[in-house]
């Protein structure tokens, strides 16, 4: 409680506080980004050397994406919230358009049987990654515009779900089950937080859940993935291969890990070590300690986002609050699902680890999201300082 008293005692520090920055969040995210670069290097070097001739193939690309992401984050930070609120729906429609373009034969770029990219010169655009952010912004705007309908009428709830459902269906056609699941879960979480009445919400969860389960049963490869994650060592050379190798990586890590660069599983045992299974490499090289620090970092980012959202709501900035909570949900869930998949808690699906995994689109979008989050924080702080010190200020320091 002394925290709350400090601004009163030290007005100069109070002014410093006005510098609109959540330093802890920024440092945490920058730390994750830097750690991600190191781990991508560790995980990809031997693969890169054999496939692409230079061990730095992925490191160079990841670094470029990182720089683009930082630029994107700064731009997002400088963009007024009003812009997002005003153009949120357009962004969302643009995203759906981009998802359609991906699916046009000849335009979309495929890797390993999944068509997720639009080739733009040296850069491959992955609309589904951006769609997660656009959905958050769109739903936040919708919740503000139709708060009454959302809370009291079924239509207010179904309307946004239909649009998001269309986006989800398009992503599912790529196919990208993981991204669809994370996006839908984020949107539903936002609707829940936005005040959707509980009954239709429960019905919707049941329907969506049933739909996802049905999807699993309809396409055999998903069924296989679902069943194989329960015991990957039953068929460790086919369906359980990737997960069993990931689990071995964790098992080898023990408490403190084998040390940076000493991992074996990344040496052509574990596929996608530098993308979807980066957490396994961290688990092997840094052990339980490293993995728990990683989890804690994502918990911190998520909690921080929710805290910013709470403060935004407290100062009456509903749109900002919804966006902040949506970003927190999204990043938290994606990290949870990714690490959960890595340790065999969840069925195997392709999802990147936010801020860390190789994959420029995912990295850039995550940076933009954090830039937006910091902007919200700054805006809220400004509003708070204009309104004068209040009890809620302790959230600043929490």
């Amino acid at each position: 409680m002394s925290v709350a008293a400090r601004p009163v005692r030290n007005p100069r520090r109070r002014r410093e506080r006005l510098a609109p920055f959540d330093h802890a969040l920024l440092i945490c995210v920058l730390g994750l980004l830097g750690f991600g670069l190191v781990m991508v290097a560790s995980a990809s070097m031997s693969i890169a050397e054999s496939c692409c001739g230079t061990p730095f193939y992925y490191v160079i690309r990841h670094t470029i994406a990182l720089l683009l992401g930082l630029v994107g984050g700064v731009l997002a930070y400088r963009l007024p919230l009003l812009w997002w609120e005003r153009y949120g729906a357009w962004l969302f429609l643009f995203g759906i358009f981009a998802l359609l373009v991906v699916l046009i034969p000849g335009l979309g770029h495929s890797v390993n049987g999944a068509t997720r990219w639009i080739p733009l010169g040296p850069f491959n655009l992955q609309p589904s990654e951006f769609m997660k952010l656009f959905a958050v912004v769109y739903i936040a705007g919708y919740l503000v515009r139709h708060a009454d309908a959302v809370a009291n009428r079924l239509s207010g709830f179904i309307r946004p779900m239909i649009l998001v459902g269309v986006a989800g269906a398009l992503i599912l056609m790529q196919p990208d089950f993981g991204t669809t699941a994370v996006m839908l879960a984020t949107v539903m979480g936002m609707l829940f937080l936005g005040g959707v009445s509980v009954l239709p919400f429960v019905v919707l969860i049941a329907v969506v859940g049933a739909g996802l389960v049905a999807l699993v049963f309809v396409s055999p490869y998903r069924m296989q993935r679902v069943t194989s994650f329960l015991d990957p060592f039953e068929d460790p050379f086919n369906t359980g291969y990737q997960l069993s190798q990931a689990l071995i990586a964790f098992g080898r890590g023990e408490w403190l890990g084998v040390g940076l660069g000493n991992g074996i599983q990344k040496q052509f045992f574990l596929p996608e070590a530098h993308t979807d299974f980066l957490a396994s490499v961290i688990g092997e090289e840094f052990g339980l300690l490293g993995t728990l620090v990683l989890v804690a970092a994502f918990v911190f980012v998520t909690w921080r986002a929710f805290a910013i959202g709470a403060r935004a709501q407290a100062v009456g900035k509903a749109f900002a609050a919804h966006v902040a909570q949506g970003i927190g949900l999204w990043i938290g869930m994606q990290a949870f699902v990714n690490i959960g998949v890595n340790v065999g808690l969840l069925p195997t699906k392709g999802l990147t680890l936010p801020f860390l995994s190789y994959g420029s689109n995912s990295l850039i979008v995550a940076c933009v999201a954090v830039g937006l989050l910091l902007r919200i924080d700054a805006t809220v702080r400004l509003a708070q300082s204009e309104a004068g010190p209040r009890r809620g200020l302790k959230w600043v320091r929490a």
Binding site: I248, G251, F268, W303, K394
Partner: protein, 588 residues
């Protein structure tokens, strides 16, 4: 984490009928997320701490392997250290069929680079497509390895890799092939010295525990389980230069006289070391060994001949030893044939009255039978037996034949006669060389060896004949190489050469039928104190002549001349011109 605080509830929108409790919902969701992350932490803890042993065992099954540390088989060299069989590191190309089945399109090119049958390779890969390892081709040469490397780089081919092995290489090729033999693909000796001394030459690969990556490449060595044991080198008694000379001359003679084969063996009189041992036909142990055993036999050791007239000096030696004759004792060979029981012993011509020296010089069958008949059966047998006929020489060569010498208790009178001129018994050329080496060594029989002896060491032997007898026989044998004898062409300028020809009819399935002969010349030089013994046998010469003096003696002459020079043997019969130029060189 949520700090409980009472927050003033502010209306977000227009007046509402129902206000959802947003703070409660947020807390519920955060609790849900917190539970999820706690579960995640628990899952990580389970994998990294609780299940770690099982997972590490599973991992070790995948990446921990026991790999061999290649060890080098012992080198075989000649007496001067020239390599005759060396193991050189080469590459073996192997494949992971599980990966290769996905690239069936590159198989034809791969097969071409490795000189394999594309269809067979394809079938092999498909048949083993569940397996993780097959040898594509072992011990490939440099060009093949380079071609495959380029293919891998060009096609981004996965599942094809190299490992290091040793390959046996024989610099002596055909010249030493029969003696050295060869090893199989597992580096185990199969024939010749490689087989006989396999235990000594063999290396034992070491073992190490290694970590292999997913492409089965070794990325780290964990521990050495057993150090490699390198094979022990072996130094042979053979002299590479002499062997080459002997091979060349024998080959030339076999060609010239249209013979089916031939052998030559040269011994060091003082040590019993084999200095040269060559055969025709030959084979190249470096090449594909498809010649069959016909070409691979070391005939000096494995094949027997009837020695024919080359045993006559031995008969004379036995008689001299017992004081039954002297070199000048006269033997009547008239009329050129001699009845023994119901059979007739013939000479080529009627030589009339010959002394014992003349009997050897002219190679008179009648004369030598008459000398033999002065002795008991046992006298001749025991000399032959003492000289090693009917026994393996102990040279330790695989497949050595002991020859055949019937015990005298089974002899009949005509057999006694034929044994005196070299029929009715069989010996290897090596045995014949050993008998002659005994004569050359003043009657001392020394054990033979293919391994180099300690220089200067005295080699103990057994006395078979008195020194006087041996010298007397050698002196008589010099006449064979004289103008009067049968082997003028064996004479070497500057040296006194002693020897004996033997032209034996070859026994076939139908007895001694047809014009099939084996022409043998056995001799030594210098005659006064012989240093080298050499036996040359030309098998079935089909040219103009088949007489040993014409067919075998010139080979002896050329090779022995070279050998005397190679071993720096001083001339014991320098011609006057040599003496003149030697002494008066500066005066002229």
């Amino acid at each position: 984490m949520a700090n409980p605080s009472r927050r003033p509830r502010r209306p977000l929108e227009s007046p509402q009928r129902r206000r959802p409790n947003l703070v409660l919902r947020r807390r519920l969701l955060m609790v849900g997320l917190a539970v999820a992350f706690v579960l995640l932490g628990a899952g990580v803890f389970y994998r990294q701490v609780v299940e770690t042993d099982f997972l590490q065992t599973e991992g070790e099954r995948r990446y921990l392997r026991v790999a061999e540390i290649p060890a080098r088989r012992g080198m075989i060299s000649d007496r001067n250290g020239e390599p005759l069989a060396v193991s050189t590191p080469v590459e073996t190309v192997w494949a992971d069929p599980r990966k290769l089945v996905e690239r069936l399109d590159v198989l034809p090119e791969l097969a071409r680079d490795l000189d394999l049958d594309p269809q067979a390779l394809r079938e092999r890969v498909l048949a083993k497509s569940e397996r993780g390892f097959i040898y594509l081709k072992r011990r490939i040469d440099f060009d093949e390895a380079r071609a495959v490397r380029e293919l891998i780089a060009r096609e981004h081919l996965a599942g094809v890799d190299f490992e290091s092995e040793y390959r046996r290489f024989y610099p002596g090729a055909e010249v030493f092939g029969h003696v050295i033999g060869f090893t199989d693909i597992e580096d185990r000796g199969q024939e010749g010295i490689e087989f006989a001394h396999d235990a000594q030459l063999q290396s034992e690969p070491g073992l190490r525990r290694v970590i292999r990556d997913g492409r089965k490449r070794i990325v780290q060595e964990v521990e050495q389980l057993r150090p490699p044991r390198q094979g022990t080198d072996l130094v042979l008694s053979l002299d590479r230069r002499l062997q080459f000379l002997a091979y060349r001359e024998l080959l030339a003679a076999v060609r010239e006289h249209e013979a089916v084969g031939g052998t030559l063996v040269a011994l060091d009189v003082d040590t019993g070391e084999v200095l040269a041992m060559v055969n025709q036909p030959g084979y190249n142990p470096n090449a594909l060994r498809d010649g069959g055993s016909e070409r691979r036999r070391n005939r000096c050791v494995t094949d027997v001949i009837e020695p024919g007239s080359t045993v006559k000096p031995l008969v004379v030696a036995a008689a001299l030893e017992r004081g039954l004759v002297t070199p000048t004792t006269e033997i009547d060979t008239e009329p050129g044939y001699f009845r023994v029981g119901r059979n007739l012993v013939r000479d080529v011509h009627d030589y009339g009255l010959l002394d014992v020296t003349g009997v050897l010089a002219k190679s008179s069958n009648v004369g030598v039978v008459k000398i033999a008949q002065m002795m008991e059966y046992a006298d001749l047998w025991s000399l032959y037996d003492d000289l090693g006929f009917g026994h393996v020489t102990g040279i330790g060569f695989p497949g050595e034949s002991p020859g055949n010498l019937r015990h005298y208790s089974d002899w009949r009178v005509f057999e006694h006669a034929t044994l005196a001129f070299g029929y009715g018994l069989s010996v290897t050329t090596l045995q014949l060389a050993q008998a002659y080496a005994t004569l050359a060594a003043d009657g001392i029989k020394r054990p033979l060896t293919l391994l180099k002896r300690e220089p200067g060491a005295v080699v103990p032997g057994t006395r078979v004949l008195s020194a006087e007898t041996a010298r007397a026989v050698r002196t008589m044998m010099e006449q064979v190489v004289s103008e009067k004898g049968t082997a003028r062409r064996a004479a070497i300028a500057g040296y006194r050469v002693a020897g004996k020809t033997g032209t034996a009819k070859k026994a076939g399935p139908n007895g001694y039928a047809g014009r099939r002969y084996q022409a043998v010349f056995a001799g030594f030089a210098p005659a006064e104190r012989p240093r080298l013994v050499m036996v040359v046998m030309i098998d079935e010469p089909h040219g103009r002549s088949y007489y040993a003096g014409v067919v075998a003696a010139p080979v002896f002459q050329k090779v022995m001349e070279g050998a005397l020079r190679l071993f720096n043997v001083p001339p014991d019969n320098p011609p006057p011109s040599m003496l003149l130029s030697g002494r008066g060189g500066s005066a002229l």
